[in-house]
């Protein structure tokens, strides 16, 4: 893959890089680029939120009161200034003129680019049920959402979280820590079904119930009830749960509106190639807004990989193409240790290894295929999660480790030594 030549037709002394989005993916890409080509671009960053870049993954820790906003800030305004970056926080880009290579912001700014990086992330899915616009219905995406939830927790006591996935459970835990009575509503009978198997899901539910979270399983939301403010959530089967706050965590969707309007090739996400380049060679995209080889992304590890490749591309450095690797998930709920990686569903040709220790609330399952690990689900004892993730990513032959594999890296290495 050949980076485009230096944009010599530009009237500026340096090429112009415009970044649409001020999140983790965007800034990691810029950092990667700056690490090798600090002088290459004049850089302008537009962000929808009025902050510097922060660690969105840790919003649940802020909600849980374990961290403050300052703790999760990754790049303060001084950093932008120090790196000569023109930060336009709180002023989202509203259109891209690809013909003239100019972006236009909500605030009316127009900035021309030689290279454009789109990192618009994703939008929470808001169930289009009656009442979804009522006051007291929030998503869980941005600092503002967290602020609203914390504010709500001061005044009200009953929260309903719609969606028993990773984000929903972290939100539920956070609200619980804020002193609310929390119910989690999930449309099927197992939590985090995309990351867990049935056993781990059951253990997780038990652990969260023990913390005080209530669950309404196999419940499809029919309506958010309330006059001007939310008062309850009603399900298709007629059941109802009273609510002062409803948090929608029913999944996310890549935010591709801007790209689509600009005429870039989009499907579920902005389609990029192995260089993270969109259908327009001057435009790159990274993060949760992209679609690479059919996949979209919600976890941080692959996005760091994208940022590394894309940053090198922007810096004009040769780099191995972006390659998807299996990803690992970890739930950040204090006292609940949970890890999953790879393909843990199993199926024909796969082999399972299971360790259950209910009294210690430990469950571990590894999925193997032809002497390689392809998946892992860990509950309770997740110390070896990263090692398993490595074994999965590196396709390590584990046949000689098999007898000790479930007991972890340290024992395996001592046995191999």
């Amino acid at each position: 893959m050949t980076p485009l030549g230096h944009p010599s037709d530009a009237p500026h002394s340096r090429a112009r890089l415009v970044v649409v989005g001020n999140g983790m993916a965007a800034m990691r890409t810029v950092e990667e680029m700056l690490a090798t080509a600090p002088q290459r671009y004049d850089i302008t960053v537009f962000g929808a939120e009025p902050h510097g870049n922060y660690n969105r993954i840790l919003l649940s820790s802020v909600l849980a009161g374990e961290k403050r906003i300052a703790d999760i800030t990754l790049h303060a305004p001084e950093w932008y200034a120090a790196n000569g970056i023109d930060l336009r926080a709180g002023d989202p880009v509203v259109s891209i003129d690809r013909a003239h290579r100019v972006v236009r912001s909500q605030g009316g700014a127009e900035v021309g680019y030689d290279r454009l990086l789109i990192a618009t992330g994703s939008n929470p899915v808001v169930l289009p049920v009656p009442g979804h616009t009522l006051d007291g219905v929030v998503a869980f995406r941005a600092i503002s959402d967290v602020e609203r939830m914390i504010a709500a927790a001061r005044e009200a006591c009953r929260a309903v979280v719609i969606g028993g996935g990773l984000l929903g459970l972290e939100a539920a835990n956070g609200l619980l820590q804020q002193g609310m009575k929390v119910s989690v509503v999930h449309h099927i009978d197992m939590l985090m079904e995309r990351q867990l198997d049935k056993s781990a899901s059951t253990l997780l539910q038990q652990a969260l119930e023990a913390k005080g979270i209530r669950f309404v399983m196999s419940a499809r939301t029919a309506q958010i009830v309330g006059d001007d403010r939310v008062s309850a959530v009603r399900f298709e089967d007629g059941r109802e749960v009273a609510a002062d706050l409803v948090v929608m965590t029913a999944g996310v969707r890549p935010n591709i509106e801007l790209a689509r309007q600009a005429g870039l090739h989009c499907e579920r996400g902005i389609v990029v190639d192995d260089a993270l380049q969109t259908s327009d060679p001057h435009i790159y995209a990274v993060g949760e807004c992209v679609q690479h080889r059919g996949a979209t992304f919600g976890l941080v590890a692959p996005i760091w990989d994208q940022a590394r490749v894309c940053g090198a591309q922007l810096a004009g450095v040769d780099v191995a193409p972006y390659e998807q690797k299996s990803t690992a998930t970890r739930l950040k709920v204090t006292g609940v240790n949970l890890f999953s990686a790879g393909d843990f569903k199993g199926g024909p040709g796969t082999e399972d290894m299971v360790l259950r220790d209910p009294r210690r609330a430990v469950y571990k399952r590894l999925v193997l295929e032809r002497d390689r690990m392809i998946g892992a689900v860990l509950f309770g004892d997740v110390d070896d999660g990263a090692w398993y993730a490595d074994l999965i990513r590196n396709q390590t032959d584990i046949s000689r480790l098999r007898g000790y594999l479930l007991f972890g890296q340290t024992l395996c290495e001592s046995k191999a030594a």
Partner: protein
């Protein structure tokens, strides 16, 4: 308390004391001449075997027509035995009843049983498990010497210059004597040791020469020796002329079949027959030829043969030809297997003996004994020997049997025949100290007898030394001594002559009988001629070497204080007992003419030869740390740790030809039956020969009774079975899984194809194997381990594809049980898991190691997790900071990956950097 070990025929003195907390402490008796303070591992573990688990503590009876055994009073049980025997005798005659007794009985027990059967019931149908052990030695002694005499004493082992161990794994079966030989050889390296055994046993470690002869060819080997010695002129012509009969004929038979000219020694011929290297054989022959002080020790490998008596005599022939007998440091030496095999011989507790070394077929002897006893009758012909006895029971000729202190369903050859026999026997009585034995499944009346530590009486060891077994424990439950049980029954049968109050009274009568009519030979300086038919002692006498004159009238106190003493026992001038170290020093033998007999021993093959269906030869024997059917030694965790399971030891070539692999299970089949055993290859077996231990039985294993596969052929002279040679086939026993369980309580073994029970400390272990795959592991394990509570603390490990499953049941922090299974023989450490049962609580590391089945090494602790994404612990991070001199979070990340994913640990990394830096500064 000074007493005697109840295991092998060495007869070691034991000092048993009770500590303040009531525990029994065992030590060797430094003053006992047999062992001088030494004990083997079995003897040392005696304290572990005196517990009451599994003991028969009350009489039990089975209702007519079967059903379960139920408790009965002594009175009911004794009446049932007495009336049952009386009824059978009245209807079918005295030969329709029998006693089958034991070399474990004390002399006093043996004495009254023999008296009851031969003098009152009037049959000689009393035989003993010693028939299976040393009856060939008895017969050989009687043929050669005219009486059952062991001429040597243990001290001779230290005086010899050559010790030939034939068919004796002395190291394992008579460990204390072996240690005496080891010590003697260390002190005097000129002492040569030769081992003649098809197996390369542990005893061979001491051997200067090992002759791995083909099973059953001993007579060839000693005939060859006799011929070789004669050919080289190694013969004591004077001794042969003056003191023996039959030399020429024996030599001729020994030489017959050799291809050379008459008289010319043909080494290749004998070596070929024995399948040993000719030069090795020659080396042995030469060693024997040039060494005057030679002892030939022989044991079960010689005795347990269809040619057992001939083997014994072929050995004695060589000693007679060289005159190497009756002098210190030389002679043939039978090591007996049981603690009181010798005592049984002395009282005549075998079907072809009378009492006190007198003969059934000698009218004068019969009349002497009957007169002494004042008994209503006296048996006048030999009774049924063990194998014949059980055949007669199956045939319905014997209808009532009283088994004392032995377990024939395990120990007899063709023991399935014994099952069939007992199944159809009208009355089966068993006096025993254990409640559950393979034999008791067929018993109608169980009588609780005493065990070691409770019994009071005497035993005789392999060197004729009489020692006391003294009680250190009270009789448990309603248990009674065997002599008393026999006397109780005898009285209820209406017989006088059984009113003994104490074992001393029995012993005293036994001693008096030994002297009764026992007029010493006139010692005439070696001429020794007497009228044929005159066996000494004049017209009414019966001269025997066996004589306990010096032990008559000891009184209770004297009996209790009796010091170990070798018979014959006379008295010193001051009246104290004077024992006899060596016999035959006067070169006078007990045959009427005073001369020893050479026996012409024509070699013959074992009765059953190998063929295509049964291509290998089965040899059986003991292992080091178990005794007989394990009812005592099986209780000891210490003893179980040496060999845990029945095994079949074989040469690797035979194993691969049989399609079996080491560590897996094999079916061991013969024409008579089959059993299962674990395949082993480490025992130095020669090609064509396999070895299976004798101990395991239905109480401790699902299918490991070697008796079921052993052929029932016997020596025609001694009646001793051919345990050492059965044609056998070894086949794989395909298993879907192998495993083991350890538990505090007994597991539920229903439906498990293979199991062996192994006693541990605070646990019992079972080795397991199954032929059917296990469906639901969890359900299966809960059933096995008896875990009903669905919320039980039961961690599990499942690798179904590899066939691996493990579960451990923990209760209140303590390990309760566990099961480990695998598609291949499970190699997890049983020792570590077993050791956890000794603990009241598991620590955290132990808990973590449970499903690994082994200890997690120290240093496994990485500390509390700091970077959860990559599982990096605090200890690991601090170590890296110190060791690599890291100064920034980025460096930690570069080194350990910590912090490179979600980054939530970066503050903690920085904190750790600061902390580690400050401690380093302080330290420097």
């Amino acid at each position: 308390m000074r007493t005697t070990c109840p295991y092998c025929g060495v007869g070691c003195g034991v000092r048993a004391t009770r500590s303040a907390d009531g525990r029994i402490v065992i030590a060797g008796d430094e003053d006992h001449p047999a062992n001088r303070g030494r004990l083997c591992v079995k003897g040392s573990a005696l304290a572990e075997t005196t517990g009451l688990e599994g003991r028969l503590l009350h009489p039990k009876m089975r209702a007519c027509g079967g059903g379960a055994l139920h408790a009965a009073s002594w009175s009911e049980a004794l009446d049932a035995v007495a009336s049952g025997f009386r009824r059978v005798i009245e209807q079918h005659g005295p030969d329709a009843v029998a006693f089958y007794v034991s070399g474990q009985l004390l002399t006093e027990d043996y004495y009254v049983a023999n008296k009851l059967m031969k003098g009152y019931i009037g049959s000689a149908n009393i035989d003993t498990n010693s028939r299976l052990c040393m009856s060939s030695s008895v017969a050989g002694h009687k043929r050669a010497f005219g009486e059952d005499l062991v001429p040597l004493c243990y001290e001779d082992l230290e005086l010899a210059d050559l010790i030939v161990l034939v068919g004796s794994n002395t190291a394992w079966c008579h460990p204390v004597l072996f240690q005496r030989i080891v010590k003697a050889k260390a002190a005097r390296p000129a002492l040569q040791v030769v081992v003649i055994d098809p197996r390369r046993t542990a005893t061979c470690e001491l051997a200067d020469l090992h002759l791995p002869l083909a099973s059953g060819t001993d007579v060839w080997l000693f005939n060859g020796l006799l011929a070789f010695l004669a050919d080289r002129g190694v013969a004591d012509a004077t001794f042969i002329n003056d003191h023996t009969v039959g030399h020429a004929q024996a030599l001729e038979v020994a030489r017959s079949g050799t291809q050379g000219v008459q008289g010319a020694f043909d080494l290749e011929h004998y070596a070929g027959r024995c399948n040993v290297d000719p030069q090795t054989l020659l080396a042995f022959y030469r060693m024997y030829a040039r060494t005057e002080r030679v002892i030939t020790v022989y044991s079960m490998g010689v005795n347990q043969s269809s040619a057992g008596t001939d083997k014994v005599n072929s050995i004695i022939n060589c000693h007679l030809q060289t005159g190497r007998i009756g002098k210190p440091g030389m002679g043939p030496f039978s090591f007996t297997g049981q603690p009181n095999a010798m005592g049984g011989r002395e009282v005549g507790g075998l079907a072809n003996m009378l009492a006190a070394h007198m003969e059934l077929d000698n009218p004068r002897h019969r009349s002497l004994v009957q007169g002494f006893w004042g008994s209503p009758t006296i048996a006048d012909r030999p009774g049924l020997k063990a194998v014949e006895l059980f055949e007669a029971i199956e045939a319905g000729r014997v209808k009532a049997i009283w088994i004392m202190c032995t377990n024939p369903v395990v120990s007899m050859p063709d023991s399935n025949q014994v099952k069939r026999a007992l199944q159809r026997c009208e009355l089966v009585v068993s006096s025993d100290c254990m409640e559950h034995t393979d034999t008791h499944a067929f018993a109608h009346v169980l009588l609780p007898a005493l065990g070691w530590g409770e019994k009071n009486g005497t035993v005789t060891n392999s060197e004729r030394r009489i020692s006391r077994q003294r009680p250190l424990l009270d009789a448990p439950g309603e248990g009674r001594p065997d002599w008393q049980i026999v006397c109780d029954v005898a009285r209820r049968m209406g017989y006088a002559g059984f009113d003994f109050a104490h074992p001393f009274d029995v012993f005293d009568e036994h001693a008096r009988l030994s002297a009764w009519g026992n007029v010493p030979h006139e010692r005439d300086g070696g001429n020794g001629t007497r009228e044929e038919g005159d066996d000494g002692g004049g017209a009414n006498g019966a001269s025997r070497v066996f004589n306990l004159t010096g032990l008559i009238g000891l009184g209770r106190a004297g009996y209790d204080a009796l010091q170990p003493v070798q018979w014959p026992v006379r008295t010193f001038d001051d009246g104290t007992p004077r024992g006899t170290e060596r016999l035959l020093s006067d070169l006078r033998f007990s045959h009427p003419d005073g001369k020893a007999r050479f026996i012409a021993t024509a070699p013959r093959s074992p009765v059953y030869a190998i063929d295509c269906d049964y291509p290998l030869t089965l040899n059986t024997g003991r292992v080091r740390d178990q005794w007989h059917t394990m009812s005592r030694t099986g209780k000891s965790a210490t003893l179980a740790s040496h060999v845990a399971e029945a095994f079949v030891d074989m040469h690797p070539d035979d194993a691969s030809r049989s399609g079996v692999r080491e560590g897996e299970l094999a079916r061991v089949s013969t024409r008579w039956g089959s059993m299962l055993a674990r395949v082993q290859m480490g025992g130095g077996m020669s090609r064509g020969s396999v070895f299976v231990p004798i101990h395991w039985n239905d109480q401790v294993a699902s299918d490991a009774r070697v008796g079921a596969v052993v052929n029932p052929a016997v020596c025609p002279v001694s009646g001793e079975p051919e345990f050492k040679h059965t044609p056998v086939r070894i086949e794989p026993f395909e298993c879907a899984w192998y495993g083991f369980t350890l538990s505090r309580a007994e597991p539920a073994l229903e439906g498990i194809a293979y199991w062996t029970r192994i006693q541990g400390k605070a646990n019992v272990r079972y080795e397991l194997a199954g032929r059917e795959p296990i469906g639901d592991y969890g359900d299966w394990a809960r059933r096995l381990l008896g875990v009903d509570d669905p919320n039980a603390d039961l961690p599990e490990y499942i690798d179904r594809h590899a066939g691996v499953y493990r579960a451990v049941h923990v209760r209140e922090g303590r390990i309760e049980s566990c099961v480990f299974i695998s598609a291949r023989p499970e190699s997890s450490s049983r020792a570590w898991l077993a050791g956890l049962f000794a603990k009241d609580a598991l620590d955290a590391d132990e808990r973590l190691g449970l499903l690994v089945g082994e200890p997690l090494f120290s240093g496994a602790d990485t500390g509390p997790t700091v970077c959860a994404c990559f599982g990096v612990g605090r200890t690991t991070i601090c170590a890296a900071i110190r060791e690599q001199g890291l100064t920034s979070a980025a460096q930690i990340t570069a080194s350990l990956k910590a912090g490179s994913n979600c980054g939530s640990c970066l503050p903690e990394l920085k904190k750790l950097l600061a902390e580690t830096e400050s401690t380093t500064l302080v330290a420097s």
